[in-house]
């Protein structure tokens, strides 16, 4: 569905993503893993057209740069790491903005299917009771759920997530990840995400791209990528040993 070839992102002289290729197919949850500064988020920004990049990214065979913004938004939804709201919009207003790409102009008010989709998204994320709440006064978890609801209202076939559960309590982390994995069960969908926490990557991912200093160290099926040797190279530590040690505390 989504394919990147020789993607390169530079900030000034600094190359943050170097000649990276990936292929996201239907049903896949592709995890971008790697230490801080590996270029994971920059790659996501390139895919969502947030930064200029070299190389080509294609969606269903067509260069994403050639899509109109609304066409692209109908197919790709993005949930970013840091989300906040400028003014005191209600939760419902923010979630309804997800319908922008589907119904614009004077007919926007009569988007029946859109209203149903918004309703469904609110219900799915458990925000129906908070629909009239002031978005400025939400907690971090509620805020992230609101933007997830917006993406669900947008109804894309590819979901791009940049650390979606960062700074969230465990209960919301679990909630959001299970929501997304439920969402992925419908045919024709795929997820590309940056996840810092290797535990989450291992539990929910199907495939992975392991990055270090902007380059790809390994990619493919999750089990083949997150091997002790690869992680040792990238993180410069015995990740498997550390994880077992952590787990042992709970037994």
């Amino acid at each position: 569905m989504l394919k990147g070839e020789h993607v390169t992102v530079r900030y000034g002289d600094h190359t943050v993503v170097n000649d990276l290729s990936f292929h996201l197919r239907e049903g896949m949850w592709l995890m971008l893993a790697g230490p801080n500064g590996a270029g994971k988020s920059s790659l996501i920004h390139a895919v969502s057209q947030g930064v200029p990049y070299g190389g080509v990214i294609t969606l269903e065979g067509k260069d994403v740069r050639r899509y109109k913004p609304t066409q692209l938004a109908q197919k790709i939804g993005v949930l970013s790491q840091k989300n906040n709201v400028g003014y005191a919009f209600s939760v419902e207003e923010v979630v309804s903005l997800g319908r922008y790409a589907h119904a614009r102009g004077f007919l926007a008010g009569k988007d029946e299917q859109g209203d149903a989709q918004v309703e469904y998204a609110l219900e799915l994320t458990g925000l129906t009771g908070l629909r009239k709440a002031n978005a400025l006064k939400l907690s971090g978890g509620e805020m992230q759920r609101m933007f997830l609801a917006q993406v669900f209202a947008q109804d894309p076939s590819i979901l791009i997530l940049d650390e979606p559960a960062n700074h969230l309590d465990l209960v919301y982390q679990k909630h959001i990840f299970s929501l997304i994995s439920e969402w992925l069960k419908t045919p024709g969908r795929a997820v590309l995400s940056v996840v810092h926490d290797l535990n989450l990557a291992k539990k929910y991912g199907t495939h992975a791209v392991l990055m270090n200093n902007g380059s790809c160290v390994a990619q493919g099926e999750l089990a083949q990528v997150l091997t002790p040797q690869n992680l040792q190279t990238v993180y410069n530590m015995d990740v498997y040993g550390w994880m077992r040690e952590m787990l042992a505390q709970w037994q």
Partner: protein, 343 residues
């Protein structure tokens, strides 16, 4: 499922229109010479339908002095308030407005240059001033935004406003420089920079109304996009807004409108800052309601400010900018304090 709508119902608009008409009549009746409401209504009604005017009615004061002035004041207030609302949404910054961002002073500089060097365009009497004010308003906005982008990639609220303030200082120096050397036109320039709508004519109303219709129409047409920008620019891009195109369109519409206002009335500070903000407190941040409400509140506020300027120290007439800036400065500090506390 209940029917949802972002717009007001018709009675809300009717209420706005009623308030607007009432304030307008008040401003026409009250002044150095008070005119009874009945006379005002008679004159306006009879003129509208081409009827004979009764004897002893101050026709000239109403039709030649007060009405054009009040109309222009209302239109300028509406335009400035609308521009402020649009910029505050677009830049996601409650302190954005023509004056704080330096657009108004840029427009003033353009107009002063046109006055001093006699820049003229064919077609209309003041076309040179209007044209230069519009061009300079847009260039200023472009310059300020690109400078703040270069200096601070995140384009934070504070850096944009800081640069706007510095730019305003720069333009006022440049203006003083021009005034120093433009001896012949000094009188007309100084009179104009004081910011006043006395002595404006119906043709100014026409220009302002046309500007409001065209630019305001463009801004109203982008209410949904403004909502998206007000939530966040990245989010706007993610949901499919053509960020650069929309931003540029709105900025051009805003600068044209500010340019027109400045060329008619000089710089009138703070209307665009205070009115959208106060309006937002009442109707909420949704631009489908906010924009139209700002137009009405801006018109009403500036008409009352003009009334105060005319009557408070009568027979001395204050500049309207004095009144708005006095109210505005206090409001600015309150807004700043509140947003800092919230953020």
């Amino acid at each position: 499922m209940k029917k949802k709508t972002d717009h007001f119902s018709w009675w809300m608009y009717a209420l706005y229109a009623l308030i607007l008409a009432a304030v307008m009549l008040l401003c026409i009746c009250v002044g150095s010479v008070n005119i009874p409401l009945k006379n005002t209504l008679t004159v306006m009604w009879n003129t509208l339908w081409g009827l004979e005017l009764p004897q002893g009615v101050s026709k000239n004061i109403i039709l030649k002095v007060r009405l054009p002035r009040v109309m222009n004041v209302a239109l300028v207030g509406a335009c400035l308030s609308l521009c402020g609302a649009a910029m505050q949404g677009l830049l996601r910054n409650p302190l954005a407005d023509g004056t704080t961002l330096g657009v108004s002073s840029g427009a003033s500089l353009g107009a002063v240059i046109a006055l001093a060097f006699g820049v003229a365009l064919p077609g209309m009497e003041n076309a040179g001033t209007v044209g230069m004010a519009i061009v300079f308003a847009f260039l200023s906005l472009l310059l300020i935004l690109s400078l703040s982008y270069v200096l601070d990639r995140s384009m934070s609220t504070h850096s944009i406003i800081l640069i706007g303030v510095i730019f305003s200082m720069f333009t006022s120096s440049a203006m003083n420089l021009i005034i120093t050397f433009a001896q012949e036109q000094v009188k007309s320039i100084v009179f104009w920079t004081m910011g006043s709508l006395s002595g404006t004519h119906y043709r100014h109303s026409l220009l302002l109304a046309a500007g409001l219709l065209v630019c305001g129409g463009i801004i109203f047409g982008h209410a949904r996009e403004l909502n998206a920008f007000a939530v966040g620019e990245d989010n706007a891009r993610h949901i499919g807004v053509n960020v650069i195109k929309v931003k540029l369109t709105i900025l051009i519409a805003v600068s044209v409108l500010i340019g027109i206002c400045v060329s008619v009335s000089g710089t009138i500070g703070f209307v665009g800052l205070v009115m959208p903000h106060m309006t937002r407190m009442v109707v909420g941040p949704n631009h489908k309601r906010l924009l139209v409400s700002s137009v009405f509140s801006g018109a009403v506020f500036l008409m009352l400010a003009d009334l105060a300027a005319r009557t408070l120290l009568s027979p001395v007439e204050l500049s309207i900018g004095v009144v708005t800036s006095l109210v505005g400065a206090v409001a600015f500090i309150i807004i700043f304090y509140r947003t800092r506390k919230a953020g």
